[in-house]
C-alpha cells in the first residue's frame, strides 16, 4: 500500500522523466535511435514462423527503406485453464451441463491449457494427471490441442439450447430467443467476450450477416443467436487476459 501511495504523488515531470529513461533504454536495447537514422519498420510474432522472410513491411514514407529494424514479439500470452473456464462460466453460466463440458474439456486438461495446481486449490486438480500438473505453464501459448479442446467446448456448449437461452436472457435481457438479433444485441454480445471493447461496424455487420444467413436457411431464430455466439466463442483472442 505504501508503494502505491508513493506512486500516486509522483509529479508529472518525474513521470515524464521516467518514461523518457525507459524509452531511451529501450531504444538502446533495440538499436532504434534517431541518430542511427533507423526506425522500427515492422513487428512480427515469434510465435509465427510464417513471418520469416516477410518482414519488410515499410510505411510508405519511410526515410530509409534499407535500414530496417524488426521488433519481434513473443507469441501472445493467453490465459490458463482457469481463466478460460471463468470466461466460459461467465458467458454461459454454471449449469450442470455447461460445467461438465468445461470441466472435461478445459479444467482437467492441465498440461494443455496451463495453470498449475497448488495445494490450496485441489478441486480443479484431479489426482490422476501426474506430477506434471504442478509444472504446467502459467504463461501458456495457443497450440492445436488446446484450440481443438476449446473449439469443441464452444461447439458443445452452443449446441445446448439452455446455454443460448442463458446468454440471451441473462446478458441481453431478452426474454426469448425467438427475438431476432439486433445491432445493439450483437454489440452487447461482443462485449461479453471482450469486456470494455466496442466492435467495429464491420464486425457487427459480419455477425448480423450470420443471422441473415441462418434466416435465409429457414433455421429457427434460436440458431441465429447460436451461430453468432459460436463465432464469438471460436474467436481465440478473448483468451488474452
Amino acid at each position: 500500500m505504501k508503494k502505491l501511495s508513493s506512486v500516486s504523488v509522483l509529479s508529472a515531470p518525474i513521470l515524464a522523466l521516467t518514461l523518457t529513461v525507459i524509452l531511451t533504454l529501450a531504444s538502446v536495447l533495440t538499436g532504434c535511435t534517431k541518430t542511427a537514422n533507423r526506425s522500427i519498420t515492422s513487428i512480427r510474432s515469434l510465435a509465427d514462423d510464417s513471418s520469416n522472410g516477410q518482414t519488410q513491411i515499410l510505411p510508405e514514407n519511410h526515410p530509409n527503406p534499407n535500414e530496417n529494424i524488426v521488433v519481434e514479439v513473443n507469441g501472445t500470452r493467453i490465459g490458463t485453464r482457469e481463466y478460460v473456464a471463468s470466461v466460459f462460466e461467465n458467458v454461459f453460466g454454471e449449469s450442470a451441463e455447461v460445467s461438465a463440458i468445461i470441466d472435461i474439456l478445459v479444467v482437467k486438461n492441465i498440461t494443455i491449457f496451463g495453470g498449475s495446481c497448488d495445494n490450496y486449490n485441489t478441486s480443479k486438480c484431479p489426482l490422476t494427471t501426474g506430477r506434471a500438473r504442478f509444472d504446467a505453464s502459467e504463461t501458456p501459448a495457443a497450440y492445436p490441442p488446446r484450440e481443438g479442446l476449446r473449439v469443441r467446448a464452444c461447439e458443445e456448449i452452443t449446441n445446448l439450447d439452455s446455454a443460448i437461452s442463458y446468454v440471451v436472457g441473462e446478458h441481453l435481457d431478452i426474454p426469448s430467443v425467438s427475438t431476432e438479433p439486433s445491432e445493439v444485441a450483437v454489440r452487447k454480445l461482443y462485449s461479453i467476450f471482450y469486456p470494455g471493447q466496442d466492435p467495429s461496424s464491420e464486425v457487427v455487420d459480419s455477425l448480423l450477416a450470420i443471422a441473415t444467413d441462418a434466416k435465409q436457411r429457414s433455421y429457427p431464430t434460436k440458431d441465429s443467436w447460436r451461430f453468432i455466439i459460436l463465432t464469438l466463442c471460436l474467436s481465440p483472442d478473448w483468451q488474452v487476459p
Binding site: 513471418s51 495457443a142 481465440p236
Partner: protein
Amino acid sequence: MSKKISRRKALTLIGGSAAFPLAANPVEMLIRGLVNGVLQKASAENAPNSIEPRNYIFICMPGAPPRWHFDLAMRPYSAGTALVRNMHVNNRFKNGQLVYENHPVNLPGGGSLNMPHIWQNDIPRPGAGTAPMSQLLENMLIVRGLNMQVDGHGPNRLKMIRPNPGANSLDGMVADLSSKPIPAVSTSGVLQTAYASGRGIGQVVLGANRNGIIEAMSPFRRADYGGDFLNRRDAMELSVNEGLRRLGIIAMSGNPAADGLFEMRSSAEQLLRDGVGNVGGEYDTYVAKYRDLITRVRNGTLKGVTNEAITNANLSNQKNQCRLTDPDAGANYLDQDGNLHSIISTETSVSGLAENFAVTEYLIRRGYSSALTLDVGIPTKFRASRIKKRSDDSVKSSDVNFNYTTDEHAGGSAVSVIAWNFYFTCLAACIREMIDVLDTDLGIFNESLIQLGSEFSRIPRNDQLGSDHGWMANVTSMWSGVISEPKVLGNIRPEPVSNTQRQGDWGKNAPVAELDGLDERELQMGNLASTVTEILRVESPFSNNQPVISVDESTSSTSQRIEDGRERNS
C-alpha cells in the same frame, strides 16, 4: 497442415486499414509494446528458425541398466588392448563361464569397430526374416565417458532432457520451433516433469497404451453432439468464417501477434474436420508389430546366451552370480533346473517397450508431433525353478515369475548377462524398426534424431553381486540420417586393480583433448546437450560446452570435433 489465416494473408487483408498500427509512428508501436507487455525481446536470436528442428525421440531407460552389454564399447578402436577385468563386466557365456568379448564390425571405409558381443546377434524384422544388429551402427553415434558430476536417479534422468535447469528442456526447445499440431508428447512418467517450453507450448502427457493415444488425440475428435448441429454449422461455415475473419482483423490491429492465435484455431479446426482416423486400430497394428519383434527375440537365439550350456552347478560362485533383486533386497539367489537361460519364459518381455514404440510410430507417421519422450520399462516375467535364501540355501519359493530391475544393485552377474542380452536385443529390434519407418517409409531419417539414454551407466561390483550408480560413466547413443558413420567418442579409463570394490574397465570418464579450447577435460552433460542440440538445430543450453560433432547441413553429414574414443591410463 492447412492454415486458413496465414500471416501473409492477414497482413494483406488488413494492409489498408487505418486502424492497423503498422502505419503508426514506430515509437507509438514501441510504447504500445511496452505498455501491453508483449514486447519481450528485441532480438533476432530467438526468432523461429526458418528451418524446422529435427524430430526428437528420446528413449529413456529409467533405472539405468549397465551399458557394457550394448553401447558401451570398451575398446572400439583398439581391440588389442586388453580390458582391465572386473568380474561383473561380462556380456556372454563361453564354455560354461562368464566372459567379456568384443565383436568387430567392419566399417564401410575400412577398419573395424569393436562393439560388445551382443552386436553379433541378428535381430528380427517385421513379418519375417532377420537382419544383423550391426546394421544399426550405420548412422549411430555413441558418446561415452560422460561425467554427470553428481549421483542420483532423479536429477540425472531429468538432466538428460533438461540439462540446464535454468533453460528450457530439449524437447521444449524443439516444440517451440515446431509446426506440428502436437509439438511435444511424453509417455514418460518422470521426464514430463522436466519439460519446459519458452513459448508456453504445453506437452501432451499420455499413458503408453491404447487408451493413452486415443486420449491424446481426443482434442481433435468431436463428440457425438446429436441432432444436426454439425450439419448446420457446416452450412453456415462461410458466414461464420467471415465473422471470424473480421474478428481477426480487430484482434491483430491491437496485437500483431494475435495472428498466431487465429492460425492455431484454424489448424485445430482442420484436424477436427479431417478426423484422426481409427487411432485405436492403428495403434493395435503397431503394437502387434513390436510385440511380435519381442516374441521373436524371445524365441530366437541369443548368441552366447541361449546357445550356451550354463548351469548353476558350473558357476564359480552361484550365490553371488545368481543373486536376484527382489523384495528381500538381494537376500536370495536363483537356482534353476537345467540350463540357466531357461529363465527366459514364454512370457518374458520388456514392459512398455512395444506400447511406447507404437505410440511413437503413430504420432510420427501421422506427422502430429516432433518431440517425444518415452520410457522403456524393465525386463519382466522370467521364470525361476527355485529362489533360495542366500543365508541357509533354503527354498524361498518355487516355480515363480520374477522381474529384473534396471537398477541392478542386487543383480548377480549370470542373471545380468541373460537379462540384458534379452533386453537390449529387443530394444535394438524396435529401434531398428523405428529407423526403418523414419527412413524407408517416411523419408525423414535425415530430419530425425533418436536418442537412447538413462541417468547413468553402472559401476560393477568386484564380488559379482550386482552394480551401482555409474554417474561418472554415462553413455548415450544417437541415431539420425545426418550422422554419417558409426562413431564412438569420449575417453574412458580403468579403475586400478587395487580398487577392491570397483576395479577395472566399466567406462569411467577420462579427459578428452581439444575440447572447449581446454586441454584435458572429461565430457560432461553440457557437451552432450550441445551435441544433441547441434543435431536438433536448436540453441544449446550450454553455450560454453562444445558439441562433440558438427553437423554440415549443406551435405547432411557430421564430422567429429574430438578424437576417436580411446582408453587412457589416467
